[in-house]
Symmetry: C2
């Protein structure tokens, strides 16, 4: 009898918990998936450095740091701290604790993604490290939405970061060299953004597309915009084809960090395919800084650029009612200094998410 | 009328395609998810280098390369080629073409995961780059199973690679230095494995657990086994708790690449928690080489180690009927040379998958 009882209790514990009812996810067209349970962005946080705080989106950040070392001993540790702060803000704004999050998907630009590892270590949340270069915010958000919509998670967090100083010394030269930057170069944002996907919130994730690696042979590491533009064109075109929608069906189509050079190339490429994006398009890399006042050359870039613009600026505008329906298309350049030194080209990638005020 | 027809055709195209019927995924206990549609491993391929071809698993690989440069100009390009070959073999064995795969999840140990980017570029499959160090094979397989089980994908491929020579020069010293290796050091496998998850196949993915980052303060980059063992203990213990199962419920529990040092620590840690793993446990890093004949010190490691052992050795044995029910627990050390130089410890992670012959 006692054994029967124990068995009953065990079976009770073992009964798997069903989180979401309804249908499984569905595919539309060639590459797009439709989230049938429409996961929501339950909370979000964005933090940024001094230069970003001096830019036009200053008021949109939850926290800014005049001391971009964040009182740590190295730029890498500072970047990890940025990611920690972004998650902390997103949790606090949502009235959530780390134990309320079932998965955290995170990435950054540093070798072996150490900002994510060391920034998130203390949260004790199941961790899935992502690498999509500057497209990582869209990639983490896409997979967070898949995990929540599928019933695998109650809540999943998506977070990415970048830091100008850690990126410069890893990808280009240490700051102390004082190297000259070319006009096509972009400024890696010192920033981080975190979005928590769950079942409550005013913004829902409707559809998503994971991009293909697109390589048109661009080899100049000082011109990332040109390297990423073909991928942005490919993914946006395919998403519109798959969903039978036009740019005019969205209040805005945001690309990650093409900057001015990549933006011009994206418009040209899509125009050749009879798609006019110009009246609906904004680029996070062009929104983050005032290029007439701030010396950022072609615009902003880095994993933290589109992350902080999404989690600081875009989602707040959507929640406030200014925007109802957008595409978020973060772009990444999948290269390393080693691959460029070995003569490889710079392949690009772009993932697309359709967000809507519910 | 013509317009009505067009609209009808459009709506027809737009009707989302439902791939899987049945329930959404479910959560068990604290960290484990149950795949309700039980995605299957439809095909798999493993390729390896010269040293691995001289080891005890020689006959299990689909292809081996005596020339570990794979006739390319650099070790990094050779590693990318390994990944390309593993996917090619898995596709061919399954009678599949790249267009049959909806997502490819891939990762490696190189900075910015360039083996994955350049190895998979030509396949033109939607790409989601993963970074979990040597745990990446379990991570990619976990997310591939989520994508298929959720209905987001018909098929998703999981692939990882490592190369002894590219890893040595990036993480330690170039081979030409002839540096002495410590007895606790492990040998990075020159290998790659690819598994294609779909709806047909003899091995099904039953449950999965994404690990937490675990850091007990190990700082020696020449002793990865010790750094990863606590994470393996944490994830295996939690999985067994969540599912109310014991080691004896599985034919074998495979860890990724703890080597001899990490294996001993894992056994000790779990024994302190009243779990005796010894009779059911194998480590991929100890299976890949013959330590009495091959100079690999504490055993094998690298993203390609557990990937090639899973996709060459384990899955073949399961399909042949020798193994019915296993846990695959790949482990990773989430460090970089920079983080170690800056005095950081080496946090570990371990993801668990329950595979069963159906």
């Amino acid at each position: 009898m006692a054994r029967e009882n124990t068995r009953a209790i065990f079976l009770g514990i073992l009964t798997p918990k069903k989180i979401f009812g309804g249908e499984k996810m569905q595919r539309i067209g060639k590459q797009t998936i439709e989230f049938t349970a429409k996961p929501k962005i339950e909370s979000h946080g964005a933090v940024a450095g001094k230069k970003e705080a001096e830019g036009p989106l200053s008021a949109d950040f939850d926290q800014t740091f005049q001391d971009t070392s964040l009182q740590t001993e190295s730029w890498e540790k500072a970047e990890a701290q940025l990611q920690k702060e972004a998650v902390s803000v997103a949790l606090a704004k949502g009235g959530l604790k780390p134990k309320d999050i079932d998965f955290i998907l995170a990435g950054d630009l540093l070798n072996q993604c150490i900002s994510s590892t060391f920034g998130l270590l203390d949260y004790n949340i199941p961790f899935l490290g992502q690498y999509g270069a500057c497209s990582t915010m869209a990639q983490t958000l896409f997979l967070a939405a898949v995990l929540v919509d599928s019933g695998a998670a109650h809540r999943a967090a998506a977070v990415t970061s970048s830091h100008f100083c850690s990126a410069e010394r890893q990808f280009r030269t240490p700051l102390e060299y004082g190297a000259q930057r070319t006009p096509t170069a972009q400024w890696t944002a010192t920033a981080s953004g975190c979005a928590i996907v769950g079942r409550a919130g005013r913004v829902e994730i409707v559809r998503g597309l994971a991009g293909k690696i697109v390589d048109l042979g661009v080899k100049d590491p000082a011109n990332m915009g040109a390297a990423m533009a073909p991928a942005a064109a490919d993914s946006i075109y395919q998403f519109l084809q798959d969903t039978h929608t036009a740019p005019s069906d969205y209040d805005c189509i945001y690309t990650g960090d093409l900057g001015q050079v990549g933006t011009d190339l994206l418009h040209q490429t899509l125009q050749q395919n009879n798609l006019d994006l110009t009246s609906r398009h904004q680029d996070c890399g062009l929104l983050l800084y005032d290029r007439t006042q701030q010396d950022v050359h072609a615009g902003g870039s880095g994993c933290g650029c589109s992350a902080s613009v999404l989690c600081g600026h875009i989602l707040s505008r959507m929640e406030a009612g200014g925007l109802g329906n957008i595409l978020f298309c973060a772009t990444g350049a999948l290269m390393s200094p080693t691959s460029s030194q070995q003569g490889e080209s710079i392949p690009g990638i772009c993932h697309v998410l359709h967000l809507r005020r519910s």
